[in-house]
Structure formats: C-alpha cells, structure tokens
C-alpha cells in the first residue's frame, strides 16, 4: 500500500484542538487587504496600532502575502482535470462494488 502506513494519524490526538475544522486562520499575517484597496492593519497579538506612515517593509510583506494567496487561489479556481475524478471513480468502483 505504498507506505501510507507511515502517514501519522493527525486527528483526535489528546489535548489537540488545533486541527478542528472550523478554526479560523489568519495567514499568519498581521494585516489583510481591505476591500477599498487600502491595506488594513490587523494584529495577531496585542500590538501597537501601526503608525500612519506605514513601515515600508511591512507594506512589502503584505504585498507579497496578497500575491502569494493569489498564486495559490489561481490554481484552486482552475477546473479539476478529469484524471483526478477518474481516480476516485475507479477507486470507488473497485472498493465498494455497489451502486
């Protein structure tokens, strides 16, 4: 079975809530783009409200973050090639043998 046995089981570990489905995520950034095209500041931790003159480096980091998500989402939004669904169709037919 191609070594899948080595894949550790990550759900339901005692004391772990990190993998709950509905956990909100923040992209680990302190800021997010706002709909009006401005950049909004949003602290991960209690931090100082950023100064008006936005730190150039932060602005750049934010730009990279936006671009990175765009790069990722571009693929997410592509139609799924049929081979993928074919894999599951075959797997399903072979496994359950019903339907």
């Amino acid at each position: 079975m191609m070594g899948v046995g080595k894949v550790p089981f990550i759900g339901n570990r005692k004391g772990h809530t990190a993998l709950k489905r509905d956990r909100t995520t923040k992209y680990g950034e302190e800021v997010r783009p706002r709909a009006d095209g401005m950049i909004d500041q949003q602290q991960n931790s209690a931090g100082q409200r950023p100064a008006e003159g936005l730190d150039e480096a932060r602005l750049r980091q934010r730009a990279i973050g936006v671009k990175l998500r765009q790069m990722f989402d571009e693929v997410v939004n592509e139609p799924v090639p049929d081979e993928f669904l074919e894999i599951l169709r075959r797997a399903d037919g072979g496994q359950s043998g019903e339907r």
Binding site: P8, F9, K67, L68, V76, L85
Partner: protein, 202 residues
C-alpha cells in the same frame, strides 16, 4: 460536536461515500499546494494524484469529522519529500533550482518567465517554502502547519518569518529583473499588483 458523531460511526460503503465526498472538495487545494510546492504544473498534478490515491487508500486511518484538509496536505507533503529524496538530494538551499532560475532570467530570449514571486519561491529552501505556503496561502494556523510538517510550532513560525524575509530580499535585490528593468522593479511590480488585487479581494 454532534456533526462529528454523526459521521464517525459510519462504516463500509456509507463511510467511503462520506469520505470521498469531502476528499473531492479538497482536490483543488491539493493541486494548488502541489503547484506552489513544486513550481511545475505537470509534476504538481502527478504529485497531487499520488496524494489523492494515498489518501483514499489510507481512508480508514482518517477519523471522519477531523481536519481532512490538513491530513491530505500532510500526505501530499510526505509524498513530495519522498519523491524528492529519490530524485534529488534534499538540501537546505535548492542550489540547482536557484541556478536554473537565474540562468533562465539572464536569458533575454527566455519566454514568458514565471513571475517574480514564483521565481523567488523556487529558490527558497523547501521547508521554508512549504511553511510560507501553508500559513501564507493555504489558510492554516501555525499549529496546523506544524502538524502537517511534523515539527514544532516555533519552527514553523521561524521558517515563515525567514521565508518572508528571503522572498522580500530576493525581489528587492532585483535578481530576477529582465529586459533591462531597473533593480528593485520586481518589488515595485508586486506592490502595484497587490494594490490592484486588494481592491478586488474581500
């Protein structure tokens, strides 16, 4: 959580069906993770398909109702490294990729090259790249990314932070400028594009 209880007792074909239904919704994300990880569309889809098969084969070890996205990402990631070990040496800095990229950029005949960020990502050490992708694009919390990568939360945080600095440094150094663009213009380009994008995001 009653929703979890509802599915966790399922067995056999009924369970498979529930599992598969959720797995299908994750395919686009697996493809995106693979693409950003490898930087190559064909290689990425092979990787994502392998991960899909493994996830299906391992479906009984997955507990329904827990985070399937993180689980499948971990499978894909493990597959990526095991492929990589087979073909390449796994080094801290992917020197070969860096050289290939730099060569491609130096070549004025180089056809529509990957955009600057993709190029910058390509030269990051793999573990920094994956950390940045998971947290910066995949929407995972640091804790989840740590589970996926099998390392400590602090390690993920430091990898993400180093990755961000490195990407910024690479872009600002203008290492990827082409066609006589001024140094640093790559960064300016990204800033401009990000501004345009953020106007349409959310």
């Amino acid at each position: 959580m009653s929703a979890v209880d509802d599915v966790s007792g399922l067995t056999g074909p009924a369970r498979d069906k529930v599992f598969q239904k959720e797995l299908v919704t994750l395919i686009p994300h697996l493809r995106a993770f693979a693409r950003t990880l490898t930087g190559d569309a064909t290689q990425a889809d092979d990787l994502a398909q392998d991960a899909l098969i493994k996830a299906w084969d391992a479906r009984l070890s997955f507990q329904l109702g827990t985070n399937m996205k993180a689980w499948t990402f971990m499978i894909l990631r493990n597959q990526f490294y095991s492929d990589k070990r087979r073909s390449w040496r796994s080094t801290q800095l992917d020197q070969e990729a860096a050289e290939r990229t730099l060569m491609a950029v130096d070549d004025p005949e180089s056809p529509v090259a990957l955009d600057e960020l993709r190029q910058a990502m390509a030269v990051l050490p793999a573990e920094q790249r994956e950390a940045l992708i998971l947290v910066g694009a995949g929407g995972f919390a640091y804790e989840e990314a740590a589970e996926i990568c099998g390392c400590a939360v602090g390690t993920v945080k430091s990898r993400v932070s180093r990755a961000r600095k490195a990407v910024q440094g690479i872009l600002e150094a203008g290492a990827y400028d082409r066609d006589g663009r001024a140094a640093g213009e790559a960064m300016g380009h990204i800033l401009g594009e990000a501004e345009r994008l953020s106007a349409s995001v959310r």
